[in-house]
């Protein structure tokens, strides 16, 4: 019996030994490797979280966001094509505790910062279904004072935290993933309904349930004529300064087909030459600095403003929409109202004139 007792003693020590080995082999040793790798690969001055980001992160943690949204892009095509380069260890060096997650119901958020604007995030947090009609994400109205554009500190913190996700990585190694599409477009109505209608409305009138919380407002697609190339570029890159995100992975050709289908052409008489000349003069004096001499949005002041000026060669608003923008400006963009500086005649003339750039 003594031998049996000895063997149990050995096995018992072995069991504890294996447990210790598991901690060393799968916990401590990887930790040292990862620490070393962080030292080696991290940018010189890594961006630590700001106070607001830290508070936002706490809310993100307590609401279980990580249980639907992973922050771990695996080294697999299925992940990297959709979300970007796989997670590097130095990106996670300020995560106490980590928020990797093991279930992915919503998309991975490791690189969320570059995808959506602040007011998109606020509207989405207030009512996810307003922006993404089929979303199953819970709403967090408790973080707001009754409306998406009246966030309380909590909502601001969460959105600040989200805006910072992936920012350090983007600075360290920018990544541009443009998707090439070819072939004749198919019907994009379905993709539009499930991805775009939340903001742009079911019929493209810019009146989706999310529109109320967004600034600038979503484009009214009925009032704008777009070239196909323009829609595809916007889908690929998004529009900086607005809530329009880059829509990686959507069928760009098909959606462009649907979007272009919303436009209702209007009959317009050709303006008399006198008016065209007046329009040309007003445009050169007041508009060309931003919108460019040829209307391509590449004026000398264009790099200075917060949002890229409209490129009239690939986007043509209806006369009514053009006049509205000229008179009232476009809220949330650098486009100011011109009704105090220009006469009614000048406004009409330049409205006609810019429509001539479209190719």
């Amino acid at each position: 019996m003594k031998s049996l007792r000895m063997s149990y003693l050995v096995a018992g020590l072995g069991g504890v030994g294996f447990f210790a080995m598991s901690v060393l082999l799968l916990g401590v040793w990887p930790g040292r490797v990862l620490e070393e790798e962080t030292r080696r690969t991290s940018p010189k001055n890594p961006l630590a979280l700001t106070v607001s980001e830290k508070r936002g992160r706490q809310i993100y943690a307590r609401e279980g966001c990580a249980y639907c949204h992973t922050q771990q892009i695996r080294q697999l095509d299925a992940d990297t094509v959709r979300f970007g380069k796989s997670t590097a260890v130095w990106e996670t060096q300020f995560d106490y505790p980590h928020l990797w997650g093991t279930r992915r119901i919503g998309p991975d958020l490791s690189r969320e910062g570059s995808l959506h604007s602040e007011d998109w995030q606020l509207t989405h947090l207030y009512s996810p279904q307003a922006v993404v009609p089929d979303s199953v994400m819970p709403a967090f109205p408790a973080l707001f004072d009754g409306a998406p554009d009246r966030p309380l500190q909590g909502a601001r913190d969460v959105v600040t935290y989200l805006a910072g996700l992936g920012y350090a990585r983007a600075l360290a190694e920018p990544e541009i993933a443009l998707k090439k599409t070819s072939g004749p477009p198919a019907n994009g109505d379905d993709a539009y309904a499930h991805n775009c209608a939340g903001c742009h409305g079911p019929h493209g009138e810019g009146d989706g349930p999310a529109a109320a919380g967004l600034s600038p407002k979503p484009a009214n697609l009925v009032e704008h004529e777009y070239t196909e190339a323009h829609v595809i570029t916007v889908l690929e890159r998004g529009i900086r300064g607005s809530s329009m995100q880059a829509w990686r992975g959507l069928p760009h050709h098909d959606i462009a087909h649907t979007v272009r289908g919303f436009y209702r052409p209007v009959r317009e008489p050709a303006p008399p030459p006198a008016i065209r000349d007046l329009g040309k003069q007003v445009y050169a004096d007041h508009c060309a600095q931003c919108h460019g001499e040829n209307g391509d949005g590449k004026g000398s002041a264009a790099p200075e403003v917060r949002m890229a000026p409209t490129d009239f060669t690939s986007e043509r608003p209806t006369p009514a929409e053009t006049l509205r923008a000229l008179r009232q400006g476009v809220a949330g963009t650098p486009m100011a109202p011109w009704n105090t500086k220009l006469s009614e005649a000048e406004l009409s003339a330049v409205a006609y004139y810019v429509r001539g750039f479209y190719r």
Partner: protein, 425 residues
Amino acid sequence: MLFVAVLFGIFASAEMWKPELSGGIAALTWGRLRYDHTQGILFGWLGNAFFAFLYHAVPILTGRPVTSNTLGRWMFGIWNFAIVIPGWTLVLAGFSQPLEWAEFPVVVDIFVVLALLLALIQFLPVFFKDGLEDTYVAGWYVIGGLVFTTLSYPMGNFVPEFLPGARGAAFSGLWIHDAVGLFVTPLALAIIYYVIPASTGRPVYSHFLSMLGFWLLFFLYPLNGTHHYVFSVIPMDAQKGAILASSLLGVDVIIVVANLFLSLRGTGWFARDLPLRFVATATMFYLIVSIQGSLQAQMAINGTVHFTDWVIGHSHLAMLGFATFAAAGGLTHAWRKMPGARFNPRAVEWAYWLITTGLLLMFVDLTAAGLIEAREWKAQTPWIDSVRAVRGYWIFRTATALPITAGFVALLAGLLTGDRVGESR
């Protein structure tokens, strides 16, 4: 406790297809309910059930009473009134950790460690009084389960708060697996190894296989954890080691289950005794869920099913199929040995069929949903398509809660109604 935990689960599952159910109340949103569901099942249901069974089994296994009755009352009080109920409440109020199987906040974790230490004092010394030569395998599992849970608990619950990102995740991965492997599995196996001979009146088939299975389990289980983060930045050698250990663990489970079923052979276990039927079914689920686990740790399969509902199906098969069936078998077995306790076999029979049906439907449903999600992700369709594609499956999953919950009600009724034990009909 079980019912509260199940209700958390049902609500959370319903919010997956009808998110407005929370009514905008922060405490009722999906995230917090999800935390409370799994912690409730782990501590509220399985923890209480396991300890209750130990009070029945340990004195019989060792021929001695447990250390102290007063200590027992303290443990009960701490477990329920310093861990489960405050844990639930704090999570709903917004105090928690975003770590799987470790969602209760750190302050509650301190009491868990305290309770585990008290459990060591309560249950272990009686085993050591006579030396361990004659210790039956169920006793070994009790010793192993309690000791290693106490060792690994702090690792998953405290360490990630102090180690950032990937380094903390490595420890999280270990605990995710140890919670199931070093707490739930050994104690459930202790019940199975106890109830089978106690009900059939025959010894287990082979004590050697029992011991082999036991030691292999404790050697291999801790080495599995990193398979929760395959294709991550954690060093590939650690990932591969964990995958190898996961494969070997499948072999170990085959040894254990073979031994158990050889012990059951020819006993007419299905019709013989209801508690026995529960533990035998638990053994089958144990085999299925473990082989599935070994397979889904393999890189080719893991790359596809990881992050999907497939894994949720797997965990329900483990916690509901294996652990809950074992716990239900152990509790009903112990219950009938209590003088004056009631027992209603018809209700327990209903419970068996209702829970089995609900579980199998849920498992199939979630597995299918997981495969659909994986296909959508690989096809690089717009993200929301993967959500739309499985919506129907989520509705069905909530519906499967109906038979499962009814089964639990029937189980409770089976223990509270019917003839008193020892009374003649």
